[in-house]
Subunit: 279 residues, 2 copies
């Protein structure tokens, strides 16, 4: 399909070069492409606002997610844990904090992924808290209106993580589900923060600001990050030049009312902060 | 790139079928794809909010736009007229209402296009005004949370169109530019309404609701539609299953403040209605 799109573009350019006017009837064309090629994209499946409204079941398979990125965050069908996508593998952090195997036939109601290509790095990064980390990155990752995928590999003196249990219908809104989140803390763990920073203009389509998940080097510990103390690490970032929104084909998605979800609720769900656990 | 993405997906599925666990280290992988294939997408270049803030110059060439769609609406560098994209050709409606040739090397600060594939049609459609047309389509195009590309070919008893003149720096905000818009009216014209309907959740990223441009069958008349009386026409619609946002690489885009633009301003700019001209 991409080749067809290119063909049409080349044909148009050739017609132009030959002095033909676009005002004339266009020439006979190749079949209409069904897909387009999008460079350097943060790709999300569904909208955080739809997830927050309780649309926890429809969605693509994890195999489909991996065709659109190798790095990112998300959740699983019925909110069964936190998703970490790292180096092309998907990890599921259950509500007890353990990491489980996934089947690529499982589905997800929300995920945001990127084929991670490093645009730059910061060595020797340290931060006593998540808030300080966020503020430092606000200073150093300057393009506030494009999304960033952010990877930090390092040594963490303290981490507080959370996950949520799989839900059963009738589903509660996400803001109520996270009131039953389970949290746990670890000290002195080596691992990776898998993060996204979305621009203010995403509103409630995704999480405006920073959204961090974690996976330990030994793949034994992971979850959504509520607090962390980074002793020392290397940050790699990938500035995204496009955003792709895949929209579910489901009754739940068709019926959700974006007007009922505000940015404050999304922050409460995805940008909670807790004090670091005492060590 | 698309083939590489597919290859990775197939490799992942094969690994899964062979009983391998995603918890193991991923196998040696093909180079990270730079692009992804996105099906059935409404593709927009920049954001209406950025355009409304006065970002009128940066952007892709018209040749690049045509690689992502053959149907849609937009504007040109420095707001030099209204853009109509129809059947793979781009038409420029100048401020005097005449249709001009474009060079595919020209650029656009905002365009939204789709490879139009008909998902359904309504024959024998008539509407005494644009507001009535919009309300009828609200009833008939039921999926309120996905974008629609909408094409209406027919006989128009009356049309009021507008365009704006090319701007010079320092640029005024768009809401002030449209105060100097030029409008004109026509009776009994055959042609095509080229329209988009975006869901409420787009906020100020695009135009939530209907956005109509027009091009006559003889390619002599066109512009942004402020009023129309449709005597009889055929509507074809294309439900979009994804939305792609290409983000400009420019200082203006990096610096625009999405918080300063509200939905009311976008409506004033793009969803103005005037009474139909008397006949």
């Amino acid at each position: 399909m991409k080749l067809q799109a290119r063909w049409i573009a080349l044909a148009a350019i050739a017609a132009h070069a030959a002095g033909c006017s676009p005002l004339q009837e266009p020439p006979a064309r190749a079949p209409t492409p069904r897909s387009v090629a999008v460079d350097d994209a943060l790709v999300q499946f569904s909208l955080v606002a739809a997830l927050a409204a309780g649309d926890y079941v429809a969605g693509p398979t994890l195999g489909e997610v991996l065709t659109q990125g190798d790095f990112g965050v998300g959740t699983f069908s019925r909110l069964a844990g936190e998703m970490i996508v790292l180096e092309g593998a998907i990890y599921q952090a259950h509500v007890d904090g353990t990491i489980h195997r996934v089947s690529l036939d499982d589905t997800t109601p929300f995920a945001a992924v990127k084929f991670f290509t490093e645009d730059g790095r910061i060595e020797g990064l340290a931060a006593p808290s998540l808030d300080v980390l966020d503020r430092r990155l606000d200073e150093q990752l300057a393009r506030r209106n494009v999304p960033y995928a952010i990877r930090i590999d390092g040594e963490f003196a303290a981490l507080t993580l959370r996950s949520v249990a799989a839900q059963s219908p009738p589903f509660k809104p996400l803001v109520d589900v996270v009131k039953q989140q389970v949290t746990w803390s670890h000290q002195n763990v080596r691992g990776t923060l898998v993060g996204l920073r979305c621009p203010p203009w995403v509103g409630t389509l995704n999480v405006a600001g920073y959204h961090w998940h974690f996976l330990s080097d030994d793949r034994q510990i992971g979850g959504h990050v509520l607090a962390c103390e980074l002793s020392r690490g290397t940050l790699r970032y990938d500035e995204c030049s496009s955003l792709v929104l895949h929209l579910p084909r489901s009754r739940e998605f068709d019926e959700f009312d974006a007007g009922l979800i505000d940015k404050g609720q999304i922050d409460q769900i995805e940008r909670q902060r807790v004090p670091a656990a005492p060590r």
